[in-house]
């Protein structure tokens, strides 16, 4: 699905750089198609790439291993969740091919565009969109049940809560955030579906409904959702940094506490997405404040990560490079978020490419840089072989150059007043002088996409040709490295017993610079 999302980005980025020229390998993109591609790009990247990879993928593989469990608490539910997800993917793909095409009203499915099929000309695509996302949510909820119960009940002997790796904490907090935030959106989706099929008009002003209500429901979910994506990524980084700087993670408990605080705060910031939707200015103020407040715990965590590097003996493996890249790029995304969070500034930049640049500087590092870091780091555990470090570094270089080239210009494009979701920028006189920036961004995307070829080849060729890896190739402490590579059917040969915290590297007086968390019982 990442490839589909990337391909859609290629289609509309080409249109933005060279308006109305046929896209090589596709043909002419029409305005309706443009809307459809943008919508589906956002939908796919958030719900079918970021969430399943970060939560389900890494979570299902690592969480039981890291707490010393043989399997998840409900293996059958896990399979059900997997197949529900698969079904949701099929529904989404099918929606491209029904008459009228896939949904085209933006990934936030704002009414009235989404509530009345007549407005976009998309009838079935919209209903299928709702169905697909609903199935995906059900699948993720089932996953969440599994993560929580597994963590609470299947930890190895000695695995106290405050000995769990940060990644395990993050997956659990993310599951809780998801569970508590998604309900209102599901309710809203039912109402939307009723609008579309039974002509009720919950969100249509003509029928006495209120489109703003949907925005509240959506963002009450939407903002916690970005942390649902962010937290597992931060968890991955927290596992990698200590290993490659041979130092304990700085501020283990404070990171957990600040994550919990941020989790609670994430439920009271949602209206920062609606500063110009016509909400009461007296409401905008508190939401502005909470938004700026919530950056404090995250800033703390990032500084704790950076402090971990301080005076460490750092080795720049590919995994480490991606981890460092993630922190650096995410910082830029976070800092520009404060601009969006301040009502006064946001009124100007809202719905411009500045916002597009901002959220890609947060979401891209989270979705791809952290994922790549995790793949390079855990690949030996998954398959018993290493990925090529050389091609890994090529991949890293191209990805970073491509990404920055694709999105750094968009900050300027946004400040120059270019609104997003515009099919043909050449139609606006005042945008002509920034057209070269769009070209630059599209060249960046092409570099970015090409840069993934070495990765894909590396991934598949290393399955058979990669250098063999022993059980603990990075000399890391957490429990997954006790299990054989790849782990067998029940994960561990004998149930491990946990004797210390997860990040005891370079302990003074110890014989070696790492001390595994567990011992075979």
């Amino acid at each position: 699905m990442a490839l589909v999302g990337g391909y859609l980005a290629y289609l509309f980025r080409h249109q933005l750089a060279w308006p109305n020229e046929p896209v090589p390998g596709f043909g002419q993109v029409g305005p309706d198609q443009y809307n459809m591609f943008v919508t589906m790009h956002g939908t796919i990247m958030v719900f079918w790439v970021a969430m399943p990879i970060l939560l389900s993928g890494f979570g299902n593989f690592l969480l039981p291993l890291m707490i010393g469990a043989r399997d998840m608490a409900f293996p059958r539910l896990n399979r059900l969740s997997y197949w529900t997800f698969f079904l949701s993917t099929v529904v989404l793909i099918v929606s491209f091919f029904v008459p009228g095409g896939a949904f085209a009203g933006g990934w936030t499915i704002y009414p009235p565009l989404s509530a009345e099929p007549g407005y976009t000309g998309v009838v079935w695509g919209g209903n299928l969109w709702i169905l697909a996302v609903a199935l995906e949510f059900v699948s993720m909820l089932m996953g969440g049940i599994n993560f929580m119960t597994t963590t609470l009940s299947l930890r190895a002997k000695g695995m106290a809560l405050f000995r769990m790796p940060i990644f395990v904490w993050m997956i659990n907090v993310a599951s809780i955030l998801f569970m508590f935030s998604v309900g209102p959106l599901i309710a809203g989706a039912f109402m939307l579906l009723a609008d579309r099929t039974l002509q009720v008009g919950f969100f249509l002003p003509a029928a006495g409904g209120d489109p703003l209500l949907f925005q509240h429901l959506f963002w009450f979910f939407g903002h916690p959702e970005v942390y649902v994506l962010l937290l597992p990524a931060l968890g991955i980084i927290a596992e990698i940094l200590p290993v490659f700087s041979r130092k304990p993670l700085f501020g283990y408990r404070p990171i957990i506490y600040s994550t919990l605080i941020a989790g609670v705060l994430s439920f009271v910031v949602w209206a920062h997405h609606q500063f110009i939707s016509g909400i009461d200015p007296r409401l905008a103020m508190p939401f502005s404040i909470t938004t700026i407040l919530i950056s404090v715990p995250f800033a703390f965590s990032l500084f704790a990560y950076i402090a971990t590097l301080w005076k460490g003996s750092i080795s720049f493996s590919t995994a480490m490079l991606f981890a460092l890249g993630m922190i650096a790029e995410f910082l830029l995304g976070g800092v520009t978020g404060i601009v969006n969070g301040s009502t006064a500034a946001d009124i100007y930049v809202h719905d411009t490419y500045f916002v597009v640049a901002h959220f890609h500087y947060t979401l891209f590092p989270v979705t791809f840089l952290a994922t790549f870091a995790g793949i390079y780091y855990w690949y030996p555990k998954l398959f018993g072989r290493f990925l090529s470090e050389f091609w890994g570094k090529v991949h890293f270089t191209l990805t970073l150059i491509g990404f920055n080239l694709a999105f750094l210009p968009l900050f300027s494009v946004g400040i120059a007043g270019h609104h997003r979701r515009i099919f043909d920028p050449s139609a606006f006189e005042f945008l002509h002088r920034i057209q070269h920036l769009h070209v630059l961004a599209t060249v960046g995307l092409i570099i970015l996409l090409t840069g993934q070829i070495p990765f894909i080849l590396n991934f598949f060729l290393s399955l058979r040709r990669g250098r063999l890896a022993e059980a603990n190739p990075w000399q890391a402490n957490t429990l997954e490295w006790i299990a054989p590579s790849p782990p067998g059917h029940r994960n561990f040969e004998t149930d491990p017993v946990v004797v210390r915290g997860p990040y005891e590297y370079s302990v003074p007086g110890a014989a070696k610079d790492w001390l595994s968390q567990g011992e075979a019982s």
Partner: protein, 195 residues
């Protein structure tokens, strides 16, 4: 799901109980979202009071009693099986629960057909949109609960573990509680209206 082998379990709560509570919590936020939306609109639409007056109050009331009674028989079923170990009695109570659930659905179906004949359809006004959405969703939960009850009734006779009866019991009470919220919101709040 092999609960017995949850090897070095570190909390006392069994996994299935954690699972069912998690499930219920996620259901609560869904219904909660709907109810909050309804209440927000209700403040701005005092005329909904009149519409609410057109619901069949007597059917709603009877159904409330039916559902509450079914919760009672559910508790009795649980009590008989888990506390007294009397499987046969428990089965009978569970059977009564299922019958009451079916009765609830019959009344609801009668109500729907009556209303649709009177032109009170979802597209008539937002109130009826909410009415059908909320009671419909609740009805689907009742149907789901009945199916689960039936499965468990079948399973009990083969001597399956009794923790299922507790799980379904919790779920059934939840469905009941949802109704306790819907009934006053949709049927009772019928005069004038707030603000």
């Amino acid at each position: 799901m092999n609960h017995a082998v949850s090897h070095n379990s570190s909390v006392e709560v069994p996994v299935w109980r954690l699972g069912i509570w998690w499930f219920l919590a996620s259901e609560i936020v869904v219904f909660g979202g709907l109810v909050v939306c309804y209440i927000l609109y209700r403040f701005n639409h005092p005329e909904w009071g009149m519409e609410a007056g057109r619901t069949l109050l007597w059917v709603g009331s009877v159904n409330t009693v039916v559902l509450l009674t079914s919760s009672l028989t559910m508790i009795l079923a649980h009590y008989s099986i888990v506390e007294k170990g009397d499987l046969a009695l428990g089965r009978r109570y569970l059977g009564v629960t299922i019958l009451l659930g079916l009765l609830f659905l019959c009344f609801k179906g009668y109500e729907y057909s009556h209303e649709i004949h009177a032109g009170l359809v979802p597209s008539r006004s937002l109130f009826w949109g909410f009415y059908y959405l909320m009671t419909g969703l609740h009805g689907l939960h009742v149907i789901g609960g009945l199916v689960a009850n039936g499965v468990i009734l079948g399973g009990l006779s083969q001597g399956r573990t009794p923790h299922r009866i507790e799980s379904i019991g919790l779920y059934w009470h939840f469905v009941d509680v949802v109704w306790i919220f819907l009934f006053p919101l949709l049927y009772l709040a019928s005069q004038g209206g707030a603000s």
